[in-house]
């Protein structure tokens, strides 16, 4: 029988972040992960550490995102010191490029509303085309303008992933792959998980299994109705640095590759790409930065976002199965700092963070409410 203080189901960014934080709080942690060909949202994301316009219908989410972005430098420094890996966090601010005046107007409204709710430190600027060109000379003439906030940035999500694993391993976390969870049972305050043909036990359990949380949550008295939402992305060959700010459609990584995205498709559990969608993404990318027309595409991929009905995270401790938690979101990169530094200590037995009170999974049980994705 394999026993530990905490079992984390799911070895993605969320699971690894929580595992690291819990281990730092002194727990013996085992992470149970699936096989090499799982859906793995951690492998398919844009790497943005993004705040602007998030939480438009729920200011707590704006605050939660902002807090994480502000704590990110601390996480980055810790990972660098502990593992030697630089996750290339850069927070020069971010640009949301607008291709119509209507979009500019809508965004101004939203950002103003958020500033009113969150406070004057929620800074943003409306940039018309000329202003934008001063900062980003490569921007194309079809771009009407952009919204800029100094809060935004980006990181290298794959280096982050590796660094989290490395740091967690150094803190004694055990990572077990090929261990997709088949069943969970609970008796006398102990959870028993059947995974990879073995049994694993611990008094605490975190469900961080992304899309898998949907089926697992009810086993421990929780509700996490997450569904897949597909995003397609294009990756260029490595290029010399030319884009200094991350944007909503295009960003250049520290390795020089340029990522162009994205899409939002409700296609179920299908992570294939569609040529016409990729073509549309390419067209839009070239509209934003015409110089990209000559860049060679080396890869195109699609990944499934882990989407709750309102697009906001689900953090909840089970009442019927004390010791079980669900932790799921679709911004695992932005929220990594919060997950290591605020969620994990709570799971390890610390105080409940008031900032997450709006994110219980139970909110979706209210049949009177209709949810739309707040992003």
């Amino acid at each position: 029988m394999n026993t530990s203080d905490l079992l984390v189901i799911g070895g993605g960014l969320v699971g690894a972040s929580v595992a690291l934080g819990a281990a730092r709080s002194g727990l013996a942690v085992t992470v149970l992960d699936e096989d090499d060909v799982a859906f793995r949202a951690s492998r398919g994301n844009f790497g943005l550490v993004w705040v602007q316009s998030k939480g438009f219908t729920l200011p707590d989410y704006a605050r939660w995102s902002l807090a994480s972005a502000q704590s990110w430098p601390e996480l980055s420094a810790y990972l660098k010191e502990r593992t030697g890996i630089d996750v290339e966090l850069k927070q020069p601010g971010g640009l949301h490029l607008c291709l119509s005046q209507e979009e500019m107007d809508t965004r101004k409204e939203r950002l103003q509303w958020l500033q009113d709710e969150v406070g004057p430190h929620y800074q943003f600027e409306m940039l018309d085309y000329d202003e934008l060109r001063k900062r980003v000379p490569l921007v194309g003439p079809d771009v009407v303008g952009a919204t800029y906030t100094p809060m935004d940035g980006h990181t290298n999500p794959l280096k982050l992933f590796r660094a989290l694993y490395d740091a967690a391993a150094k803190e004694g976390v055990q990572f077990k792959t090929g261990c997709g969870t088949e069943d969970i049972s609970y008796a006398n305050g102990i959870f028993t998980v059947k995974a990879g043909g073995k049994l694993w036990q611990a008094p605490k359990l975190v469900l961080a299994a992304g899309l898998g949380n949907n089926k697992l949550a009810p086993k421990v008295g929780l509700f996490a109705p997450v569904e897949p939402n597909r995003g397609e992305v294009l990756i260029s060959e490595r290029l010399r640095p030319m884009l200094g700010y991350p944007t909503n459609f295009v960003r250049q990584t520290d390795e020089g590759t340029v990522q162009i995205g994205d899409s939002h498709e409700d296609v179920g559990f299908d992570d294939g790409t569609i040529t016409s969608v990729l073509g549309g993404i390419a067209k839009r990318g070239i509209k934003c930065f015409p110089i990209l027309a000559n860049a060679n595409l080396v890869r195109a991929w699609a990944a499934l976002r882990v989407m709750s009905p309102d697009g906001y995270p689900i953090y909840q401790a089970s009442e019927s199965h004390p010791g079980a938690f669900v932790v799921t979101c679709h911004s695992g990169v932005t929220l990594a700092a919060n997950h290591v530094m605020r969620i994990a200590p709570w799971i390890a037995g610390g105080a409940y963070p008031d900032a997450i009170r709006e994110f219980k999974g139970d909110r979706f049980l209210n049949k009177d409410l209709v949810f739309t994705n707040g992003h």
Binding site: V136, R240, M242
Partner: protein, 113 residues
């Protein structure tokens, strides 16, 4: 033919069927065989370093000659990262080596600060 070429034509430079073609490579003019791939033409003209790698900028040259290794990448007539083993050489072609990752804007860093 350059005397330091790693490869030379079997039949010698005076084969009747071969009509030399002039191309420009890194600013130098080269006479090469017509009808061969750019990679073959460059190898026979004494080019042993086609580019430098994108990670550590170490020298690279063709390895597979059939379009699977992507080592033979050069800039041809302004279009960078062309697989030179898949492109037939033509009179007047302008070819340049690539150093590290290619620049989309003429080697200058378009700083956005």
């Amino acid at each position: 033919m350059a005397t330091n070429s790693l490869f030379r034509p079997l039949s010698g430079p005076s084969t009747a069927s071969a009509r030399p073609v002039e191309i420009e490579f890194d600013g130098r003019f080269l006479q090469v065989q017509e009808g061969v791939s750019v990679a073959a033409a460059l190898l026979s003209a004494g080019v042993s370093r086609f580019r430098t790698s994108v990670v550590s900028e170490t020298p690279r040259a063709p390895y597979c000659m059939m379009g699977v290794c992507f080592e033979c990448l050069v800039e041809i007539d302004g279009q960078a990262s062309r697989q030179s083993c898949l492109v037939t050489v033509r009179e007047g072609m302008k070819i340049n080596t690539q150093r590290g990752p290619r620049a989309l804007i003429d080697g200058t860093e378009a700083g956005n600060e």
